[in-house]
């Protein structure tokens, strides 16, 4: 709890600026998308084994965030490919853990679970 520095999905929280803590669920999803920021995404990517986030990564991440924060849900893959101009195979190659566990998670979208 209350970890700083490196992070992995097994760690629950990471300290942010302004003294706030970003909290993750047991599948490594951020519990509050508003606490997401780019540095956090870079740290999560590193924990996922990605050497860094390219422009293409950011294009996907920013589309996912914009969609979620304006529409209130995650996009279908067809909407994601249309919105980013990337094919599904290209996106999956960018995020080895896939769209849900890779891209959506790095974009700070919550895990759509029930109680």
């Amino acid at each position: 709890m209350g970890l700083t520095g490196t992070l992995s999905i097994s760690e629950d929280t990471v300290a942010l600026d302004e003294g706030k803590e970003a909290c993750f669920d047991d599948e490594g999803f951020l519990t509050d998308p508003e606490l997401w920021h780019e540095t956090l995404a870079e740290g999560m990517a590193k924990a996922d084994g990605l050497p860094g986030l390219s422009d293409r990564h950011w294009r996907v991440i920013r589309f996912l965030r914009h969609y979620y924060l304006t529409v209130g849900k995650s996009p279908l893959n067809t909407e994601l490919t249309r919105g980013t101009g990337l094919t599904l195979m290209e996106i999956e190659a960018l995020f080895p853990r896939g769209i849900k566990y890779g891209a959506r998670r790095l974009a700070g979208l919550p895990n759509p679970k029930g109680c």
Binding site: D25, G72, C115
Partner: protein, 885 residues
């Protein structure tokens, strides 16, 4: 062929005199009169199919059409319509007797027959005449009130306008009818099985007769050649992960883990053909030892339910202070073992789904219709399980819920078959099959010790609880967590030590069930409170009062609370408690003895931990408002909550507020209709969306849609509500799981037959404080239904997987078991609730079983019954145990 003619809703209908079908088939299949429902596998147990034949109420599922020559048949559609309802339908709506509405058409037709015969029936007559019509939602109280109200309408004493709430009373705190109630009362609301599609294939599943076995081979060749069969599919035909959860296959390929697991699917032109062909699929199994109980599962060398996974699949401790030392040093300690049983949530509507493609494309859009209460999550589950992304989930009306629809069943198989066969597919399960494939309430085994100081102040609590997970982990981990969130109930216990363990077995798998964990642990705690009060020689109510949490105290998770109106609930119960004790006092000897018991509870609102809901609102050109959110309403009255709050805040009339809640394409993700969270979280998100809309209108001085459009401003705004809560620390179980809670106390008055051991609940009195009360009638309805369900848990209900196959076997509540109830509502506005409100639906179940056990003990003077349900055998054993001491 000899023809014969009958009339159905006034229109002539001709059939072959040798037709072997029952009337229900004609109504639903041929005439699409789907207001007449089917629940009990045509055993005449549920009454949902009740219609009038020559003025008499009959079960259309048992009525052969060949016996109806010249008969006049009236179904719910012939009684009235939403635009022109019958007075009985008006009465059901105005009395709040329509919750999920699945039973309502049958109930209304039975009431029609009764009132035609007897214009002024009393309660006992109504109970007798409606005894064959089942309802899980209401506890029958408001149904009986509705019949009496209808009788007054029909006698001309009053009319619906007399009792309709005066519009000048506003929107909040007013018992307005639910917006969807009239559709449900008139049978026009479409439940999933009511939706037909031309050319849809019918599906049947091949299910395991074994509790635990390896699948050696599946031979579908004979089935594929049978009449009407389009094809047979197995796990290899599913493109995706074939997993509903990590441990739960959609179609089993290597191994079955529980009786009823699906192994293959047959798609045919008719249901009969599909069922017959399913019988012809040959599956070779190699049976494995079946693990029946957690004790067996935890024994050394026990076979693993899931390869590579220990049977002990989840464990969570909770440590606050030093409970061992506190108990060691306590002046008085009680220790006991408690258990609760496997229970079916028993929503009246059987499992059903329809899946079809709605557009031509390389990957066309698959539409899955079903009864999920968390549609965006289940859409994602289906996408992954089936390897098909372009999909939307559409929710039908939901015939009862109580947690069971947190999991999908028929949807996965219907969708898989639609993809495989590229045809629309309909999968409507029988009741017996529905029972096999749905989650149940987890059974708990609990060992507790509770201590107090010489003044009766609680000192420490130790609880070790083992939860039988069954074969799959649905909400099992959440059940453990939620039990820990609410472990100390309503009380200030400075030292707590707990350990929750979740254990795989080959039994029915547990899932969400009204309350989801807290009802079980609260039963143990409240029972221990009685035992400790008795040992201390203290009055049970006073003992609870002095130990109530006060603002500034902390619960077992260490969270310090700032609002806790539980003492007020006990004080409100006090005069009733005194009255009941006085009334019971003369009946402590003899054959029939009376007793009084009380119990309390406090229930957290939300998922527990971080929680988020998104809801959008849109100002419409006609001056109305549309609300968008994946907010299921399986009977709780969320339609009323959304429209009453939004009308109150915007001034837009309730009838101009529209709800778009059932479709993943058209709604933001509002998460689940669970955890009593909808009013608090989704109501809160809607309040924020309305605030954004009104703020934007204020910025440009607009008061209408046209003015907003002229100013170039958007008219649709998204609101979010994020709960300020945390998960529990995995090592200590400490954290702040909820912002707010609902509180209450209940009292049970019972009569015990000391010869037979039978218990009759004379009355249940419930005091509940749910914050600001938006709609008293709906809140009362939720509480009454919960009390009835709690009494079933306490006294009757126990599901046995594979053996319990229908409503009679389940001991479903009827008007015969219906209780006298009194609901007392307190109203302490919550700081963060929308207009001060919280949810109420699940809390009610927390105190009931313990209150009833306390009342039985008070009546008999015997030992405490610690194992649910309190069957007559257990009651007699408890009395004997006392006698033998």
């Amino acid at each position: 062929m000899r023809e014969m003619t009958l009339t159905i809703n006034g229109a002539p209908y001709t059939v072959d005199a040798h037709d072997k079908r029952v009337l229900l088939d004609i109504l639903r299949e041929e005439l699409s009169l789907t207001g007449t429902k089917q629940s009990c596998d045509r055993k005449g147990q549920c009454g949902a199919c009740t219609v009038l034949v020559n003025g008499k109420a009959v079960r259309s599922c048992l009525t052969k059409v060949a016996d109806l020559d010249g008969a006049e048949v009236v179904s719910i559609e012939g009684l009235g319509t939403p635009d022109n309802p019958h007075l009985i339908q008006e009465a059901f709506v105005l009395a709040g007797a329509v919750q999920c509405g699945f039973c309502s058409p049958g109930m209304i037709m039975a009431a029609k027959a009764l009132l035609d015969e007897n214009p002024d029936p009393d309660t006992e007559v109504i109970k007798s005449k409606l005894r064959g019509n089942l309802c899980r939602c209401t506890g029958y109280t408001k149904i009986i009130e509705a019949v009496k109200l209808a009788a007054r309408f029909l006698r001309g004493e009053i009319n619906p306008d007399t009792v309709r709430p005066d519009p000048s009373r506003g929107m909040i705190g007013v018992s307005l009818p639910r917006p969807h109630a009239m559709m449900l009362a008139c049978g026009t609301a479409k439940f999933t099985a009511d939706i037909r599609m031309e050319g849809a294939l019918e599906l049947a599943a091949v299910r395991s007769p074994h509790e635990h076995a390896l699948i050696k081979s599946v031979d579908t060749s004979a089935a594929e050649k049978m009449p009407g069969v389009i094809g047979v599919m197995t796990a290899k035909d599913i493109r995706g992960s074939n997993r509903l959860k990590d441990d739960q296959p959609l179609l089993c390929d290597k191994k079955v883990h529980v009786l009823g697991d699906a192994v293959a699917l047959v798609a045919a032109l008719t249901k009969k053909q599909a069922l017959e062909a399913a019988q012809a699929v040959t599956v070779a199994y190699e049976p494995l030892p079946a693990v029946k109980t957690p004790t067996e599962a935890l024994a050394e060398g026990c076979v693993q339910v899931h390869e590579g996974e220990p049977n002990l699949c989840y464990i969570h401790p909770q440590i606050k202070g030093d409970a061992e030392a506190a108990l060691r040093e306590s002046a008085t300690v009680v220790s006991a073992e408690f258990s609760s049983q496997l229970i079916h949530q028993a929503a009246l509507e059987p499992e059903a789904s329809l899946a079809y493609f709605e557009e031509e494309a390389e990957e066309p859009k698959l539409v899955v219709v079903g009864r999920s209460i968390i549609i965006h999550h289940h859409l994602m589950v289906l996408q992954e399980a089936l390897g098909w992304d372009n999909m939307r989930y559409e929710q039908g009306f939901i015939g009862g819920q109580f947690g069971i629809k947190m999991d999908i069943t028929a949807e996965g198989l219907a969708a898989a078959a639609a993809i495989h066969f590229r045809r629309p597919v309909r999968y409507v399960c029988s009741l017996a099959e529905s029972m096999l494939i749905t989650t149940k309430r987890h059974p708990f085994e609990m060992k507790v010790s509770l201590g107090a100081d010489p003044k009766g102040r609680l000192t420490g609590y130790d609880i070790d609880f083992i939860v039988n997970n069954g074969a799959y982990t649905s909400a099992g981990k959440s059940i453990i967590n939620r039990a820990l969130f609410m472990l100390s109930g309503s009380y200030n216990i400075p030292n707590v030590k707990a350990l929750g363990r979740l254990v795989y077995t080959n039994d029915a798998w547990g899932g969400a069930a009204r309350g989801a964990g807290p009802p079980q642990v609260n039963f143990a705690l409240e029972s221990a409170m009685d035992l400790l009060a008795d040992k201390l020689g203290m009055d049970r109510l006073e003992f609870r009062l002095i130990n109530s949490i006060r603002p500034g105290d902390s619960i077992s998770t260490g969270q310090v609370v700032d609002e806790w109106p539980y003492p007020e609930c006990l004080e409100a119960l006090r005069p009733h408690y005194k009255r009941a004790m006085l009334q019971a006092a003369p009946f402590k000897h003899g054959k029939i003895r009376r007793g009084v018991g009380i119990a309390g509870g406090s229930f957290g609102i939300g998922r527990g931990g971080p929680d988020r809901s998104n809801v959008a609102v849109e100002l419409m050109p006609d001056g109305g408002l549309t609300i968008y959110g994946s907010i299921a309403d399986p009977g709780e009255g969320n339609d009323a909550m959304l429209t009453q709050i939004s009308s109150h805040l915007t001034g837009i009339p309730q009838h101009k507020i529209r709800l778009v809640c059932r479709d993943t394409d058209r709604t933001p993700d509002s998460s689940s209709a669970s955890g009593s969270r909808v009013t608090y979280m989704s109501g809160g998100a809607m309040v924020n969306a309305i605030a954004a809309l009104t703020s934007a209108m204020g910025e440009v001085g607009a008061s209408t849609y046209e003015e907003m459009a002229a100013a170039g401003k958007p008219t649709k705004f998204l609101g979010t509500r994020v709960q300020d809560a945390t998960f529990l620390d995995p090592k200590t179980g400490q954290g702040a799981p909820f912002e707010s809670r609902v509180h209450g106390a209940q009292m049970a008055e019972v009569e015990v037959d000391t010869i037979t051991g039978k218990v009759r609940v004379v009355k249940l009195t419930a005091v509940v404080d749910p914050g600001t009360i938006l709609n008293p009638m709906i809140v009362e309805g939720q509480i009454e239904g919960g009390l009835d369900m709690g009494a079933g848990m306490a006294l009757r209900e126990e599901y046995v997987h594979g053996r319990t196959k229908d409503w009679v076997g389940l001991k479903f509540p009827t008007t015969k078991t219906a209780l006298d109830m009194e609901v007392i509502l307190l109203e302490t506005p919550r700081k963060k609730g929308p207009l001060g409100a919280v949810g109420v639906g699940e809390f009610v179940l927390l105190p009931t079983a313990a209150a009833i056990m306390g009342s039985i003990q008070d009546a008999t003077g015997g030992v405490r019954i610690c194992h649910l349900p309190a069957t007559p055998k257990r009651v007699l054993e408890a009395m004997t145990a006392k006698t033998n001491k």
